[in-house]
């Protein structure tokens, strides 16, 4: 029984934990289908008996109008009523209407009731479908929907087959009116199933509201302005018009052949039975595989492809004057088109709601099914009237129009697919903050800027000034002068720095005034320096006055000003003072010298820093690092890298190296390749390369991608990912090769995990392998991000690492939609929440694994240097702990491993195994 159940679940790709929800939905779908079948049969029979087909076009138009009215009502309530209450309300409303029709028909034979019944038929269908699929949307996430919505729909089809075949007998027993009672009972069961669903799965509805961003509800107009939704609505409209055009052509043909009621009824009986069977096969077996393999676009164009091929063939036969062929090809086309529409296209449409916010999901569904589709039905009716009454088209002529509509539908399907991916990515990254440059062209940007510049917060004012400078705005000079009046000294210093950098001569008078009156000595010192830069001719006289000032900032400003702009006299005078400071025995003086060299900022002044970087005093070394960063002379790189080993100076050294930019790369490469460099140091160097932007650093990072050390490799991937690297040229081959190797490695890890996860005593190793597998998946996703839209894949990576199944499903859906078919087949099973044996089975064609025995696997885990040392150490530890002598030689072979962890664990295990061997001998 268990095997049978497992086989069933495997065939239909039902995974652990999904069985109960699937059963609930399947049963509900069964009753929903029964309700629709019996209601529609009763409506059709009563209407045709009382009115014939003459009023049918009017019924369609009335149905469309009432559907729109009811649809607006639904949308209104959907805004305010919680989802479960709304769904219960819809079912209760349908039951009441059904009961009303039933009892009125029992009481009176009035013909208007048959007309009402026929009009209500379409509304009934729309509302019950909305209710059912809205529930399904809450119970399954996007990935589950792709796999299981088709199977869920088979409940509906099953009740149609059973009810359809049993209909003649039922009608003979009860009469037509009592079919309404059966339909009402079906609705009642749907209501009961909804209550059961609420009781057992109520948390899923709450989760849907809380875990995702709900946001404000958008108006109908705003909804239609959303590009994704507008394409989606256009697709729905075109698809629906195509459906009714084909429908009309089909009935027209059938009517021309089957003239009496008996043959017509026989034909429809067989037709609907076969249709239901085709739907059953399509829903249960084909849909999930089609969507999983080719994505949503296949689901959207399947029905159109059937219509196009069928009608095109039929037109070919008509051109050859094969009238019989035309008829039967059209009947076949209608059969498969209707099956594809309800079994493939409808579930795909429901998947398309998934990227929407919960607040928009129900609303968009209601708009489509209550407004767009009825409008399409009315449009199709009007178009048919136009073609038959005005243009006098026959079926052949209408077929050409149909082909045109099918073409438009296919185009809109591809547009929807493109926007679907964008919408999914947007849904995932919705919480991401983003910033943009202010243009200052619009009033709101200018207002923000004014407020920023008036702020008491120095950082805000400086940011405002930076933005103005970056935008090269003409008001910069005026704003900087105004900033010299700012109460905060930090802002005044920043303004002076920018005045100097922009050589703003107009500020000279104000700078002179600061030199004389400014109370803050730091600002005064800066003013001296800036004055030297602005008025080089007067620099010596003005600055030399401050060379012996008791205030350090003034001395500093004077020395820097003179060395930069003081002419020969100034350089000689200030140079001798700087030399004195460099040779001072006082660390504070040497630190001051380093600061001055940094302020001067001339790369040729680097030599004194070589000494200061190795000064005995830490503060001097730190100041020298800062200065070295400002000079950015490549000859300083090696000395700065040395300082990385000092934890207290590491950050300063990193900052200094980053400011060198790409000039630091050769030095970093030398440091990386040093034999004595530890893993930690190499990771640090890689992180540093990552902080240095530019193509050369990207190339350097790519060079280190092939290193075998996992920690270093991860840092390289992380840094490349951080800069949204996209491979081109030769790099594509490198990344693809890495990807292939990673996938192979990941499959091997899974095979090992499968072997060890069942043994309790091997828990330690199984956990290490799980962690190794997770890391491997992350590396694969990084590599994928280098080949496909990087930010989207990296966002998906974050989701796939989440603890929440829904988030992982969203991440998987993004990957599914972005990567190519061949890569998808090799990677998706690795990211799917399926048991390891299933993952391996799906990957066997892409990364075949030789059968392993546990002993051989453990040996490989011990010796495989590609794995993390932690995993290898766990394998060694277990060998020692279990006193398993079979591993003695293997463990001995890694006692000189480069990894200290592996070496230490191996030494311990050898000792443990030796003592066990000794005890055995004794």
């Amino acid at each position: 029984m268990t095997n049978l159940r497992r086989g069933f679940l495997s065939i239909f790709d039902v995974r652990s934990g999904e069985g109960q929800v699937l059963t609930l939905l399947f049963i509900t779908a069964f009753f929903k289908g029964a309700s629709i079948l019996f209601f529609e049969t009763a409506a059709n029979t009563k209407f045709l008996s009382d009115f014939g087909v003459s009023l049918l076009p009017h019924v369609y138009i009335a149905t469309a109008i009432i559907s729109v009215v009811v649809g607006f009502g639904y949308i209104k309530y959907e805004k305010t009523v919680p989802p479960l209450s709304l769904m219960k309300g819809v079912l209760a409303f349908l039951i009441v209407i059904m009961a009303g029709f039933y009892f009125l028909m029992l009481l009176t034979p009035a013909k208007w009731l048959s007309l009402g019944l026929m009009v209500w038929k379409g509304v009934h269908w729309v509302l019950i479908q909305i209710e059912f699929w809205a529930v399904a949307g809450y119970l399954f996430n996007v990935r589950q929907g792709k796999r299981l919505f088709g199977l869920v729909a088979t409940g509906d089809v099953l009740s149609n087959i059973l009810g359809g075949f049993g209909m003649p007998w039922i009608v003979a027993q009860t009469g037509t009116v009592h079919l309404l009672l059966i339909a009402g009972v079906g609705l009642g069961f749907c209501f009961v199933m909804l209550m059961v669903t609420e009781k057992t799965q109520g948390h899923r509805f709450a989760r849907g509201e809380e875990s995702e961003e709900v946001g404000t509800r958008r108006s109908l107009l705003q909804l239609c302005r959303d590009r994704y939704l507008s394409y989606f609505f256009i697709l729905s409209l075109l698809s629906c018009v195509s459906f009714f055009l084909l429908d009309y052509i089909f009935y027209d043909q059938v009517k021309s052949v089957y003239t009496n009621e008996a043959t017509l009824a026989s034909f429809f009986g067989i037709f609907f039975a076969v249709l239901s069977l085709v739907k059953l096969v399509a829903s249960g077996v084909v849909v999930a595989r089609l969507l999983a393999r080719f994505g949503v676009v296949a689901g959207l164009v399947a029905a159109q492809a059937v219509a196009f091929l069928g009608v095109f063939s039929a037109l070919g036969l008509a051109a050859l004057a094969l009238v019989g062929g035309f008829l039967w090809v059209l009947i076949g086309t209608k059969l498969f088109h209707e099956a594809a529409t309800s079994s493939v296209e409808a579930p795909t449409f429901r998947i398309l709601y998934q990227p929407l916010r919960p607040a928009d999901r129900l609303r968009a569904q209601a708009v489509r099914e209550c407004i767009i589709e009825p409008t399409a039905i009315a449009l199709a009716g009007l178009l048919i009237l136009l073609m038959t009454e005005v243009w006098q088209f026959a079926s052949v002529g209408m077929s050409y129009v149909l082909v045109a509509f099918v073409g438009m539908t296919v185009v809109s399907a591809f547009l929807v697919r493109r926007e679907y991916v964008t919408a999914l990515i947007r849904a995932i990254s919705r919480r991401r903050l983003f910033s943009g440059l202010l243009s200052f062209e619009d009033a709101s940007s200018r207002r923000i800027l004014e407020e920023t510049l008036k702020s008491d917060m120095p950082v805000e004012v400086m940011t405002g000034l930076k933005l103005i400078e970056r935008a090269d705005h003409p008001s910069l000079g005026q704003r900087l002068l105004r900033a010299l009046e700012h109460p905060d000294a930090q802002v005044r210093r920043y303004a002076l720095e920018r005045i100097e950098a922009n050589h703003l001569d107009a500020a000279t008078d104000r700078v002179v005034s600061l030199m004389e009156t400014e109370s803050d000595s730091e600002v005064r010192g800066d003013a001296v320096r800036v004055f030297c830069a602005l008025s080089a001719g007067e620099a010596f006289d003005a600055a030399s006055l401050h060379l012996d000032s008791a205030k350090k900032p003034l001395r500093r400003g004077a020395i820097v000003g003179l060395l930069r702009s003081g002419g020969l006299e100034g350089v000689l005078l200030a140079g001798s003072r700087l030399n004195d400071l460099l040779k001072s025995s006082c660390p504070e003086e040497r630190q001051f010298a380093a600061e001055i060299i940094g302020d001067i900022g001339r790369t040729t002044f680097y030599r004194p820093l070589l000494e200061l970087l190795n000064d005995v005093n830490g503060d001097v070394r730190r100041a020298a690092l800062v200065a070295a960063g400002r000079l950015s002379n490549p000859k300083l790189v090696a000395s700065i890298i040395e300082r990385l080993r000092e934890p207290s100076l590491r950050e300063a050294a990193l900052k200094a190296l980053v400011s060198f930019g790409e000039a630091a790369l050769p030095g970093l490469a030398v440091a990386f390749d040093r034999e004595e460099a530890t893993d930690g140091e190499r990771v640090q160097l890689v992180r540093l390369m990552g902080r240095i932007r530019g193509e050369s650093s990207t190339r350097s990072l790519l060079d280190y991608l092939i290193v075998t050390n996992r920690r270093v490799q991860y840092a390289v991937l992380d840094e490349l990912g951080g800069r949204n690297f996209h491979a081109s040229g030769d790099a594509v081959g490198l990344i693809r090769e890495n990807l292939r190797q990673e996938i192979h490695g990941a499959v091997w890890i899974l095979a090992a995990l499968l072997e060890f996860c069942t043994a309790e005593e091997m828990d330690l190793l199984a956990n290490a392998l799980k962690w190794e597998a997770r890391h491997s998946r992350e590396r694969i996703l990084f590599l994928l991000s280098f080949l496909y839209p990087s930010q989207a894949i990296l966002d998906a990576k974050e989701k796939l690492c989440s603890d929440h199944a829904d988030m992982r499903a969203n991440g998987l859906e993004v990957v599914d939609n972005l990567v190519s078919q061949d890569v998808k087949a090799m990677t998706l099973p690795l990211f799917s929440d399926i048991p390891i044996d299933q993952q391996l089975s799906r990957l066997k064609d892409h990364a075949p694994q030789e059968p392993h025995d546990r002993e051989a696997l453990q040996r490989e885990l011990i010796t495989n240097t590609v794995l993390f040392p932690w995993t290898r150490a766990c394998a060694i530890y277990l060998a020692g702990k279990c006193r398993d002598m079979r591993f003695m030689d293997t463990v001995r072979s890694v006692t000189n491993d480069p990894s200290p962890l592996v070496r230490e664990t191996a030494a311990w295990a050898v000792s443990a195994l030796s003592s066990a061997a000794g005890m055995t001998k004794a």
Binding site: P647, R650, Q684, W771, P869, W870, A873, C874, L901, E904
Partner: protein
Amino acid sequence: MRITLERVLILKSIDLFSAVPPDALVEVASILEEIEVEAGEEILHEGDMGTAMYIIVDGRVRVHAKGRDIAELGPSEVFGELAALDPEPRSASVTALEPTQLFKLSSAPLFELMASYMEVTRGILRVLCRRMRAGL
């Protein structure tokens, strides 16, 4: 003396390090100080500035303040946990009830490690965020 792997396993069982990946815990294990105290020996004194956390490897300790017993802790339990991240005066004294083996993790080397190993920082932050959310 425990090997690094065994130290990592002990660290892994502590909530603060539960989200730190094992390869990064190897680095944490390398800065652990292994200390042994006799029964009755005071390990921490109430009011002293705390800059380290302690993990009980073997033995039992008594946590007490102002002459009153607050708790008794045993193997794999931790005290002074947050002091390693945010030094503050000890709110209670801790005394060994029997010969006890401890791992001491001081804030200075831990901070250095956190500066070098982003994984350690991320793992600790994750646990602190989890605690904050649970407390909200």
